[in-house]
Amino acid sequence: MASFNLADSTVRELNQHLHGSVAGKVSVDNPGGKHSVAVGATDAHDVEINGNVGYYCAGMNAEASIVVNGHAGPGLAENMMSGRVRVTGSASQYCAATAHGGLVVIEGDASSRCGISMKGVDIVVKGNVGHMSAFMAQTGRLVVCGDAGDALGDSIYEAQLYIRGNVESLGADCEEKEMRAEHKEALRGLLESAGISEFSVDEFKRYGSARKLYNFNIDNASSY
């Protein structure tokens, strides 16, 4: 096992280790809110970070499994390609922004713009998400076990949203959709991989694109 104590070694050394060395267990202590912790991993490392991290932790991750025992700052797992990221606390803004694949699990809350422009990632938030979550979300799935803030799914494309609690308001072109058997099945799978067993899939509602704004039409100008 490789260990990095960020109180006396640098984020650079940690990241260099994650780029190219043989995949294995990596433990990180005293992250102290530092930025860019464990970014750009290229292999199936098993990273455990003990403490809070700053901006862009696990950014552009590929293959690695990264657990943050603490809270995460803005842009957690931004543009992630594959692998898994789990935060035991809460995550700040733009969690999993533009991420292409893999699974992000937030055990606490995620702030505004969770899943902004997501491009295929799966995100499961046990608590609530803030306003403008899934803004311009392209593909992938966002599960929120708590409530969603204002303008959920604004200008959404083909991403699927499953929300258990209250939705403050829906953004432009986002609408509630029928929850069919296949959706319940998919949701069940997501909750299971996130390790969440307290909630039944029947408690969730599904949201997605009304697809009315896909091609510009002047009569829709007031919808934006």
Partner: protein, 437 residues
């Protein structure tokens, strides 16, 4: 037949203005088009070189060397790039342009030892394969963005804005979204694709500093990082880009081309390239970063004269978009009949957003794009870059410079008061720079 010769056209309501009002009334939607600003604004044409005279001697063409190489990114990057000519190819997306056009650009640029740039839509194997140096754009949409391509790039360009539309996002209309383009962007085929106007995971210069550090961490501090801004509050934007850790700053003036933007945006937002160069250089000088952080200038560069003037004002290199497309074959008279069918004429075509480009450049239509031979078009681009370089050297030698970077504002005079004020060089025949004591 009415004799039109005595008809008086209104300067306020000119025929294009009348036509635009009629078009707006018919369709109810603003005009979206490609190309750059079309109206007349102060530009490099309003400057002249003084050349050598009693007090300084010129260099002999074809005999005495005049170096044109430029190193980009030696502030923080482990692997800066050195290009042979002070002219790069600007970012133009696959999606906006055909794969053939992207390949041709890569070929032409590589033949001349310079770099080319991806665009909003990701990196294609065609352009990576053909480009000796490829700059990978990091845009708000993050279409096609992935760490593997990031590591394949020779430099990374964080796009904050574009001269054609500072503060505006992008738009690729549904008719240009082929299966391949859609797949690269993770979106359904045939729908309009909006590219966001702001980055999804940072706002402001303090965040940008953290973002740049993240990109450096992901790529092990190897790649030069460029920051591209549209010309607006240029002095402050350049200052903040340098503070945020840029290796290279790219400033794109309002004449800069675009693939699809509202006409009102193209013509009315941003400042011309001329004052932007001066403001950018002043910012770098004030920070003692001139020549340490390189400045690339774009927006309306057409000739070696434009290149030389931008360098004399303090730029390290220039970048071209529209002129490169024209060199490939855009607006070529060979296709006049087809331009006519589209309601336009060679020399006026600007509907890059439509995807019907008869020349096969700004289209995804397989039949149309097949018309562009990437090898021949690449050769034309290389020829054109060669001419720009020779012209630049001619002017530099006339001013007695053995490297094009030795050109300086002192070599210039302005022909108009506006240009003198904007460029910060004296009005020809005087010592007068308006706005300075």
């Amino acid at each position: 037949m009415v004799d039109k010769s005595w008809l008086k056209e209104s300067a306020t309501f000119s025929r294009p203005v009348i036509r635009e009002i009629q078009r707006a009334a018919e369709t109810g939607i603003y005009d979206i088009r490609g190309f750059g600003a079309k109206r007349s604004i102060p530009h490099f044409d309003d400057l002249v070189f003084l050349g050598a005279s009693m007090s300084r001697y010129p260099l002999e063409g074809y005999r005495e060397t005049c170096d044109t190489s430029v190193t980009l990114g030696n502030r923080f990057a482990k692997n800066p790039i050195t290009i042979d000519i002070p002219i790069t190819i600007a970012g133009m997306s696959f999606g906006a342009l055909s794969a053939q056009a992207k390949e041709a650009i890569g070929r032409g640029a590589s033949q001349m030892g310079t770099c080319t740039t991806t665009g909003d839509g990701g990196m294609t194997p065609e352009e990576r394969g053909q480009s000796k140096y490829l700059v990978y754009q990091y845009l708000p949409s993050r279409y096609g963005m992935n760490p593997e391509d990031l590591r394949k790039a020779d430099a990374i360009e964080v796009v904050v804005g574009q001269g054609a539309k500072p503060g505006g996002g992008g738009m690729l209309l549904g008719q240009k979204i082929s299966e391949r383009v859609a797949e690269m962007r993770d979106l359904p085929q045939g729908i309009d694709q909006r590219s966001a106007c702001r980055h999804p995971d940072w706002t402001g210069p303090d965040d940008l500093e953290i973002k740049i550090a993240e990109l450096r961490e992901i790529t092990d501090w190897e790649k030069p990082i460029f920051v591209k801004v549209g010309a607006a509050r240029t002095f402050y934007d350049v200052t903040l880009a340098v503070k945020a850790g840029a290796d290279v700053v790219v400033v794109d003036g309002m004449q800069g081309g675009t693939a699809a933007t509202q006409d009102v945006f193209i013509e009315h937002v941003g400042i011309p390239t001329l004052p932007a160069v001066r403001a950018a250089v002043e910012a770098l000088q004030e920070l003692d970063m001139h020549r340490k952080v390189q400045l690339i200038v774009s927006g309306g560069i057409r000739s070696g004269a434009d290149v030389a003037k931008a360098l004399a004002m303090g730029a390290d290199a220039v970048s071209i978009g529209t002129a490169a497309l024209i060199a490939l074959g855009d607006n070529n008279e060979t296709y006049e009949d087809e331009y006519n069918k589209l309601g336009t004429s060679a020399g006026f075509y600007d509907d890059y957003q439509d995807g019907k480009d008869p020349v096969g450049i700004s289209t995804q239509d397989p039949a149309l794009s097949a018309r562009l031979d990437p090898v021949a078009a690449g050769r034309r681009l290389a020829n054109y870059l060669n001419v720009l370089t020779l012209e630049t050297q001619t002017l530099a030698r006339a001013c007695g410079k053995s490297h094009v970077h030795n050109l300086e504002p002192e070599d210039l005079a302005a022909l108009t008061i506006e240009a003198a004020a904007m460029a910060g060089v004296p009005l020809a025949g005087t010592q007068w720079i308006p706005g300075r004591l």
